[in-house]
């Protein structure tokens, strides 16, 4: 009786104020996060816009000269030069090259590991495995970069007999170490969230555990698994330190993963500290930043749309 009265009291009067306060706090946190994101974008875009509008900047570089070949007929990134050259294609190729290598390694590994963890691993081992892989996500990327530079580079060069010691394979392996925990965690959550009834049903129909995992649980978790891959891709194209250290940063126009490359993020990191404030080079670097931001944003948007579609199809709302 007494207890009930206490509970009733809790719902009245004073707690209301606390609830209002808490609600405000939670709401403002959300607003602050979004506002920070918007402000960052506004800042980056503001510094990038002179590339499109300023006549001073246009004497040296325009968006058009960044995409078409230089006067010499090829693409070159030589921002510190008598005649500065800012070609985007080598950077785009380099960034994509390393991201693809990293994802080719990370996605199969991470998803298979996630399937193992959620479907096959004994309970105790699972409770050990997940935190350990997630620990990788907390490893500073400079440490991974250093590891790639000192150790992985030698392995890769010896194993494949490569000319370039620092190349997209080495950097991609380093990068995959940063991507794996993200893809793994999100994919594992998605797999674990598949209702037990699916597995029971599948087993009851005579499927073995592997068939259940591969043909029932994985397809059911596909929206989440796909979202995991997109997050991984976002991390791959945005990651800076690993690429800066292990890629060699040579702005070559080469699709060969065995050759050195220069990525967007590494270019910004290496050059932004030095540029003269307000110079064309400065605006170009911010343009690169804005470009990276927009690409990641569009990618996430597309992924979101695709995940929604997948989910709708799974729920039978879409044929």
């Amino acid at each position: 009786m007494d207890q009930r009265q206490d509970e009733l009291l809790l719902l009245k009067g004073r707690p209301r104020l606390i609830e209002t306060l808490l609600e405000t706090a939670v709401r403002s946190s959300a607003v602050i996060v979004i506002a920070a994101l918007v402000l960052i974008f506004v800042f980056v875009a503001k510094e990038a816009i002179p590339l499109l509008t300023s006549a001073d900047v246009h004497n040296e570089v325009t968006v058009w000269t960044m995409v078409r070949p230089q006067e010499s007929g090829d693409f070159s990134w030589q921002p510190v030069s008598e005649k500065p050259k800012y070609s985007l294609p080598p950077l785009i190729v380099g960034t994509l090259k390393v991201s693809i290598v990293a994802l080719l390694i990370a996605i199969p590994l991470a998803i298979l590991a996630a399937i193992y963890t959620s479907e096959f691993a004994p309970q105790q081992f699972r409770e050990l495995l997940k935190p350990v892989v997630e620990l990788l996500a907390g490893m500073p990327s400079v440490v991974i970069g250093f590891f790639a530079l000192m150790v992985v580079a030698t392995w890769v060069q010896d194993a494949f007999g490569l000319i370039f010691r620092l190349n997209a394979i080495t950097a991609g392996i380093g990068l995959s170490l940063a991507v794996i925990p993200i893809v793994y965690t999100v994919a594992e959550d998605a797999l674990s969230a598949v209702p037990q009834a699916f597995r029971d049903g599948s087993t009851a129909l005579g499927a073995n555990p592997w068939q259940t995992a591969w043909r029932v649980v994985l397809p059911a978790a596909m929206p989440g698994v796909f979202a995991a891959c997109v997050l991984g891709f976002g991390r791959a194209i945005g990651e800076t330190m690993i690429v800066l250290m292990a890629s060699g940063n040579a702005a070559m126009m080469s699709f060969d993963p065995a050759e050195s490359f220069r990525s967007f993020s590494a270019t910004i990191a290496a050059e932004l500290g030095e540029v003269v404030y307000g110079s064309p080079h400065y605006h170009v670097l911010f343009f690169l930043g804005a470009f990276l931001f927009v690409v990641t944003f569009l990618l996430n948007l597309a992924a979101h749309w695709y995940v929604a579609r997948l989910r709708a199809r799974l729920e039978g709302k879409l044929k």
Binding site: V80, P90, Q157, F160, I163, R165, M253, E274, Y277
Partner: protein, 293 residues
């Protein structure tokens, strides 16, 4: 579907890389373009031409040396102070000149063809605590520190623009920012100076000469360390912002060493050869061998 795609990609990857072992190709390492060493090399070795696109740039001389020490086909350049675990190559000015080792004597007497002064810059005649610190750096005691770190002291007749203004040193944190080549040197100076003068605080950070110069222009540092001279544009910016000419103080000397993997048989290299290498006109060790003998 997915395993198929992955296998296909791996096969493509492997087949793409397998057949390319060529011992003759030269792997070029250099510094990032925010580095004073990069600018120096471009101006004095490449005659301002652009670096070839396949020059791999690394953040910091230590990283360059690290890379070269693990790469048999490579060549790199950087401040002498860092050289360890690689073999420095004596440099000839041209075919006829003698090959000169990057040693203290050769750098100080000017016979080593790619040596340079290292500078402190301030926006105006240094005052107070900053002046005291610079004056100390130029004393024999300060210059000995630079020798210990692997750089070279300025000859006595080139020092001493800055005289200590006894007693009027205001207590102040002195910030020093700039050249990565000089960052260890600056830190040693700061340590010795702080040990000697109780209460003095000197903070030294790197980032590249360009970073230091930008900080100087933005008023974010007392002293800018630079391994190259300010260019006319940067001077004009400081003049426009502060109404004063920047003050240039040579504080040490450095040679730009050219180094290769310890097992590389290369005996000497000439400046024209270095230029041809780093602008992409010489691509293999065989070509270099035939011109260098």
């Amino acid at each position: 579907m997915k395993p198929f795609v992955v296998t296909l990609a791996l096969v493509l990857l492997l087949s793409g890389c397998g057949s390319k072992t060529d011992e003759g190709t030269i792997i070029l390492y250099g510094r990032e373009n925010n580095s004073g060493t990069y600018m120096y090399f471009k101006e004095h070795v490449l005659a301002k031409a652009d670096f070839a696109p396949n020059v791999q740039t690394l953040p910091g001389t230590a990283a360059v040396i690290n890379a070269v020490s693990r790469d048999r086909r490579s060549i790199g350049y950087g401040g002498i102070g860092y050289v360890k675990g690689v073999r420095t190559v004596p440099v000839k000015k041209d075919d006829q000149s003698p090959a000169v080792e990057p040693t203290l004597q050769n750098v100080v007497n000017g016979s080593y063809p790619i040596s340079r002064d290292l500078y402190f810059y301030t926006v105006q005649e240094p005052q107070g605590a900053v002046r005291e610190f610079i004056a100390w750096v130029l004393t024999n005691e300060g210059q000995e520190v630079s020798e210990k770190v692997g750089y070279y002291p300025l000859p006595a007749d080139r020092r001493g623009q800055v005289k200590s203004s006894e007693g009027q040193a205001a207590k102040k944190t002195i910030t020093v920012k700039g050249s990565d080549t000089m960052v260890i040197l600056g830190q040693r100076w700061a340590e010795h100076y702080m040990a000697k003068i109780p209460g003095a605080v000197v903070q030294v950070t790197g980032g590249g000469s360009g970073t230091g110069i930008a900080a100087l222009i933005n008023g974010a540092t007392d002293i800018c360390e630079s391994s190259r001279r300010l260019d006319s544009k940067e001077r004009a910016q400081i003049k426009a912002k502060f109404g004063k000419e920047p003050v240039e103080i040579p504080v040490a000397m450095d040679g730009v060493a050219v180094f290769v993997h310890a097992s590389n048989p290369l005996k000497t290299i000439t400046l024209p050869e270095l230029q041809a290498l780093y602008t992409g006109h010489i691509k293999s060790w065989r070509e270099l061998g035939s011109t260098a003998r």
